[in-house]
């Protein structure tokens, strides 16, 4: 048998072996529906993820998040990230259910952990991130504040390949992390599978209106200086797509809402510093790795002249889309079967006054 050198190719190996052992075929079927293309290894035997679209450079994102871990230890206050995490955790108060086991996926795990404050009845918290440094700084911060009654475990993992057993957690929270995944539907499907029945999935991702001022300033500056544009901002989800994503992943009772935060900075360079500290800098595969000093200064100048407010600060818009979904359970509302209606429209018409014939 040929030696398969790549790890992703090994999944194809696993699938072939599993098809031969018919006794356990029912458990292996679950692994076929994780990603949107019906399998990690593609259709061929040794193909890697060629059939999936790669927009973001995940390895670069790990490095960004490592750097963010070092930078954010210096800047302790990050009000935007805290506001998003707070909003997300508030939704736990609206549920009568308590969630003993919770999984926190990358993004701003530190903020989520800090702001839980006993909401949702969480007893065991599992923190997961792609970057080891981020997890380590989270664990060190935890040891500093000893007044913690939640049992926390730490894990380094990728949201696109979730290493969590099926039906094992009650709650999954992802605050500003999923907009960097290449395969968002696939990640959400895996999250749904990891949830117990009647488990909750809460996510906050950045929406299409985010940093529109920066996008405009960058485009103008590039067109002027370099005569062309290269992608500087990642493609972000639209609100109408969020609902589709939730239903496609198979969540029941989906809910989407949008919030816009305008953060004020002293200058455009402050904005970039803040983005670096959050690990949100450009991670596109198609990015231009060189940034001209002239172009950068022109961007800052255009941003200032076009969008500055009276007191000299510049605003930046962050549009956050909050998504909630539950794993199906018999206690949820279900649509009735076709043909099981007990009242006809004619009766309703008679009941509620039918002066006009429809």
């Amino acid at each position: 048998m040929r030696r398969i050198n790549s790890i992703y190719g090994r999944i194809g190996l696993f699938k072939r072996i599993s098809e031969k052992s018919t006794k356990q075929s029912h458990t292996f079927l679950a692994s076929h529906s994780f990603s949107t293309h019906g399998g990690y290894g593609g259709d061929g035997e040794l193909q890697q993820n060629n059939s999936k679209v790669k927009i973001f450079d995940r390895d670069l994102k790990r490095i960004h998040r490592d750097r963010a871990a070092w930078l954010s230890s210096r800047h302790k206050n990050n009000s935007f990230v805290d506001a998003v995490a707070d909003n997300l955790l508030d939704r736990l108060e609206d549920c009568k259910k308590s969630f003993p086991t919770a999984l926190c996926l990358g993004g701003s795990i530190g903020a989520v952990k800090r702001l839980i404050r006993g909401r949702g009845g969480i007893e065991k918290l599992i923190m997961m991130d792609t970057s080891y440094d981020m997890i380590k700084s989270c664990r060190d911060a935890d040891e500093d504040s000893l007044g913690n009654s939640i049992e926390t475990s730490y894990l380094v993992g990728d949201e696109e390949f979730l290493p969590i057993k099926e039906s094992s957690v009650d709650l999954i929270i992802s605050s500003l992390g999923l907009h960097w995944t290449n395969d968002l539907p696939g990640s959400m499907i895996q999250c749904k599978l990891a949830l117990k029945p009647d488990g909750l999935f809460l996510a906050a991702i950045l929406g299409g209106e985010t940093l529109k001022e920066l996008r405009i300033a960058c485009t103008l500056a590039h067109m002027e200086r370099e005569g062309g544009i290269s992608p500087r901002l990642s493609p972000l989800a639209q609100v109408r797509d969020a609902g589709n994503l939730l239903t496609r992943a198979g969540f029941s009772l989906p809910g989407v809402d949008v919030d816009e935060y305008v953060v004020k900075y002293k200058s455009a360079l402050d904005l970039i510093e803040h983005l670096r500290a959050m690990g949100e800098t450009n991670g596109l595969l198609e990015r231009n790795k060189i940034l001209n000093r002239e172009t950068a200064l022109a961007t800052a100048a255009i941003y200032d002249s076009m969008f500055a407010t009276e007191d000299g600060t510049i605003p930046a818009t962050f549009q956050v889309i909050y998504m909630t979904g539950w794993r199906e359970h018999s206690s949820h509302q279900q649509a009735k079967r076709r043909g099981s209606a007990t009242v006809s429209f004619r009766d309703l018409h008679k009941q509620f006054g039918g002066q006009s014939e429809s």
Binding site: I7, R10, K20, K124, K136, R139, L155, F161
Partner: protein, 80 residues
Amino acid sequence: MVRLSRVLLKDAGNVIDKTLSEILVCPLSKQPLRFCEKTKSLVSDTIGVSFPMKGGIPCLVPKDGKILEEESEASKKNIK
């Protein structure tokens, strides 16, 4: 006191957290993992990959995994 001892154990990398050991599976094949004492790593037998543990924290990113040669041959033979 209990928390302090748990921190020490974690740093030693000898014990994997009980919560995690119940929940973790291989990220690629979703099959259970085996903790290998010798190399202090989590091994996924079905595809023959081992994931390291750094500072007591399991690193289950597919890119971090190492392919194991002899064990993958043995597992293939067993399943056939």
